[in-house]
Structures are given as C-alpha cells and as structure tokens.
Amino acid sequence: MDRPLTGDMRPDGRPLSIEEYEEKGGYQAARKALRGMAPKEVQDLVKNANLRGRGGAGFNTGQKWSFVPLGDEAPRPKYLIANADEMEPGTFKDRMLMEGNPHQLIEGMIISAYAIQADISYIFLRWAYKVAASRLEEALAEAYSSHYLGENIFGSGYSLEMHLHTSAGRYICGEETALLNALEGKRATPRAKPPFPQVSGLWGKPTVVNNPETLCNIPHIINNGAEWYKGLGRSQEGGTKIYGVSGRVKYPGLWELPIGTTMREIIEEHAGGMKEGYRFRSVIPGGASTEFLTEEHLDVKMDFDSVQKAGSRLGTGTMIVIDDRTCPVGAVHNIEQFFAQESCGWCTPCREGLPWVAKTLHAIENGQGEPGDLEILQQHTDLLWLNKTFCALAPGAMEPLKSALKIFRDDFVRHIVEKRCPWK
C-alpha cells in the first residue's frame, strides 16, 4: 500500500534532515516543476488529480489556486500561506507531518507558491507545536543554505521567501481570513468574503491559504502524476488521507490510509477497537465541528462525499470516539463551551448565542434543565446556522449540537426529567 506522505518517515518520529530527504527523492519534484513546467501546468495537474483541501472544506486545490491573477499585470507581492494552526479539537495530524518530515511541507510550499507565482510564503503555526516549530526553523535554514529558498531557485529565475510565524492562541486563527488579520498583527477577526483571499488577501494582495497535509501531497502529485494519485484512493476521491482516532480506543493515533477507508476499519483495525470495558456509542468523524454519527454509519467510507451523504462532514478526518460510559450531554456541553469561549466576539449571534447554548447545556447536565430547554437549543441550531453569522465558527458549533439533539434525544430528556446526569 502506498503511503506517500508518511512512508519515508522514521518510525521513531525524528525528522529527516535535508540530506536524508534528498536521498529519498526529496526536492526532485520542485526541480521538475520550477525548471520544466509552466505555473498553469502545475495548477492543471493538481486540479486533475482532484486533491481536495485537507483542512476540512474539501475544495479542489488546483481550482482554488486558479483564482489568483497570473501574469505581469498581477498585483505584487503575492503570498502563499500554510495554515498550520490546527486548532480543531480532536485534530493532531499536521503536527505529525511537520515534526516527522518538515522538508516535505517546505517542498510542497515551494511548488504551490510557484504555481500561483507567489513571492513570499508564511507557515502560520499553532503556538502549542513547540517541537514542530524548532524542526521547521531548522529545515528552513537548511533549505535556504541549499538555495532551495531565496533568489533564483534551481536556476529557474523564480524566487521565494519563506518564514515561520508562530501564533499566540485562539481557534478563530484557523479561519483563513482571520488568519490573515492575525498575520498582519491584528485581532484575529474574520473578514467579509468576497473579496476572496486569492484576489485580496494578506495586505490586500492575492493570497492562497492551504492546509499542510494538502501541501505535503503536492510533490508526490508532481512526481507521479494525476492518474497515479487518483488510483491511491478507495473511492472516487484521490489520494491518501491521514486519519486519526482519539477517545477510549485501544491505540489512539494516526494512520495514512487510502481515502475512502471505512470508519469501521480505522476504528476497529487500526485503533484496535474499544478499550476493555467500554462500548462504542458514537463518533465525531472530523473534529469538534462535525455531526455525531453512530454504529449504523460505521461502514461509511471516510471521504468528503460519503461522510456528507451520511449526514456529517469528513472535516479533518480525525475522529473522536464517544463510549457508552461517557455522557453524551456532557460531551456536547464540553464542545459548545469550547466554541462559546473561542468566538472572536465580532458578530452578535455568535458572541451571544453560543454562551447561551453552553449555559443551557450546563444546566441540563447538572440537573437544572427545564422543559422547553431542548426547544431553545433546537432554535439556536437554526439561528446560528450558515449565512446568519459572519463566519463558519457558529454554524460549525451547531453541527454536533444539531445531530446530538436527534441521536441522544432520550438522554437529554432523561437529564431533564430525572434532574440529574445518569452517568454521574
């Protein structure tokens, strides 16, 4: 089985140096693209490979790039940003990619920046990733001293600067326009779209923001072609996916598998199934902002379209398993508390609505729920839905709530009627 993203990594997780990376074929794709391919050709190849954004939105990467103005008339400088903020609760996949093989990300960024003819690139890194930060710093220095970054890379005439920016917290920084404000040294509130960042992004210039896992795929697509990439998947969608599982399973962790691997295989085979004494109750498939799924969905393929058909989202592909000894109302309360706290406060529905949701859930969980509370919660799933708030944070927060009110209805009612949490 092909594991292009992780196959070359060391089992102990120590990073590959630039020499080791090159011995395994590293930087050949960048050489090939910069010397022998036109930017548009790179875009088309990636588009045809059907690489869909691994940050969770699943947009076709090549298509995303195609909105950036090219040619002499295009505004300069242009920017490429790796969104390595990875603050979706339950998500820890990009950390492994950056810690284990930082040069793979850098090479992916060089090629992607070339495809949109960017002049400057930033890695926007989550504050907590101290190990990744020092490994990326070291790798950037190596890449600069090998002249893979800087002026006239590979003698192609193309030049690119790359810098590491480590953040200072807040979930909202992962929203791509909030990230731009954060990078400009402002409060990380989202911006209105349109204009989209590809046209007016960082300091008003054309900017592409991509997820690290997405970017790490690029060198392999350049080396092996679109057909090879599409052939890696187990469904219509191309490539592999880094899947993760946390919760009370035997072996929580991360695995690179063909996209479209079923949830059952990931949880039962790779994560080893549930720990002794615990039974599977439900799963949040792709980070805290996705809908709960249950046992009946275990054979769903973990790709963007299949999970959506099942009523949730692939999101980041890192699952949080909820067991039978964990109170589902408590789980939803914890999730909503997170979103309430992480609202940036810019728009009223999100700033006021999420704390109300969290307080209502807190009351129910602590035996102070009242008849009518479930209707209030239900209303919020509509009032905070898409297009009613400034960005996707609150709608994302409503996804787990909406599904929980359906799936765990009886549990909610029991809390209210018995005036206590049956799990405590």
Binding site: T91, F92, R126, G244, A288, I320, F338
Partner: protein, 161 residues
C-alpha cells in the same frame, strides 16, 4: 525599558514582514519575545513595545488581550496549561485537574503563594492521541496520570529550574 537583546530579537522579526507600515505585523511575536524574558506583559512593557512598532499602546493592548497565550497579568515562574477540550474530557482531564488544584492549593486562573506555578485551562494542545495532556512552560506531557503529576511537579521544585 526593553533590553538590547529584546530589541534585537524584535528587530529580526520585523525583517520577516517587509517595509513601511507593516511593523505592527511583528507585534504578536514582539509580545512573545518580551514575555519569554519577563513571564508576562506589564503596562510598561506594553508601552515600550508599542513605541518600537509605532503603534499606540491601546492598539497593541487590543491585540495583546485577544490572544490567550499573551499574559497581561503576572504569572508564576512556571505556567501549567491543562487541556479541557473534548478528547481530554472523554479521557478524564477533570480528575487530573482536581489533583493539580489540590496539590497546588489553587484554582484555575490562580498562582501559588510562592509564585512558582500558575494554573490555566487551554483549549486543546493538539495531542489528542495522548489525552489527557498538559503543558508546563514549553514541555508537553501526554497520557497524564495523578502519579505522573506528582513526579513531574517535583522536577520544577525550587532550585532545580
């Protein structure tokens, strides 16, 4: 007054963001640099950094108070961050928190009387496969148990760090 070292480091950061009115882009990094040396950002530090970056102190404070890892109040010599988010909740962070609070004699958001530890909640550390997780200063601890806490805390006892 900022030290020469702090000024130099801020200067190097400025180079990452280009010319002109972009100095403020380095402000989060500048706050982090000063915080690394002093533990937190006092009003005086805030004014000094704002001066270097040609921002008003109010503008900079607006940024500083937005980010939860910039401390505008004095913290202890070591900051303990405990993840309170979903995977760590499922894996029982509450027991770890209770144990920490008992051992240190403080609640979340407080500092021990001897000024050694500050205990803060944090939304996810990106270590969900090793839940429950905590971070002390720059060091991540995963699969944390009560026994491990006792062990780890003694490493941070007086005189050693």
């Amino acid at each position: 007054m900022l030290t020469e070292k702090e000024r130099d480091e801020i200067g190097r950061e400025l180079a990452n963001y280009g010319e002109g009115g972009r100095k403020r882009a380095a402000c989060v990094e500048a706050l982090k640099i000063v915080q690394r040396y002093r533990g937190w950002i006092s009003d005086e530090s805030l004014r000094d950094i704002a001066g270097v970056l040609k921002m008003t102190p109010e503008e900079l404070d607006g940024v500083a108070t937005f980010y939860n890892l910039i401390f505008r109040r004095q913290v202890g010599r070591h900051v303990i961050l405990i993840c309170t988010t979903i995977s760590c909740w499922v894996m029982g962070y509450e027991e770890i928190l209770n144990h920490l609070q008992e051992r240190l004699g403080i609640q979340l958001g407080e500092t021990t009387v001897d000024g050694r530890f500050t205990l803060l909640p944090v939304p996810c550390l990106g270590a969900c496969d090793g839940a429950p997780a905590i971070m002390i200063d720059d060091t991540l601890y995963t699969d944390v148990s009560q026994a491990m806490i006792d062990n780890v805390l003694s490493n941070y006892s007086e005189g050693q760090r």
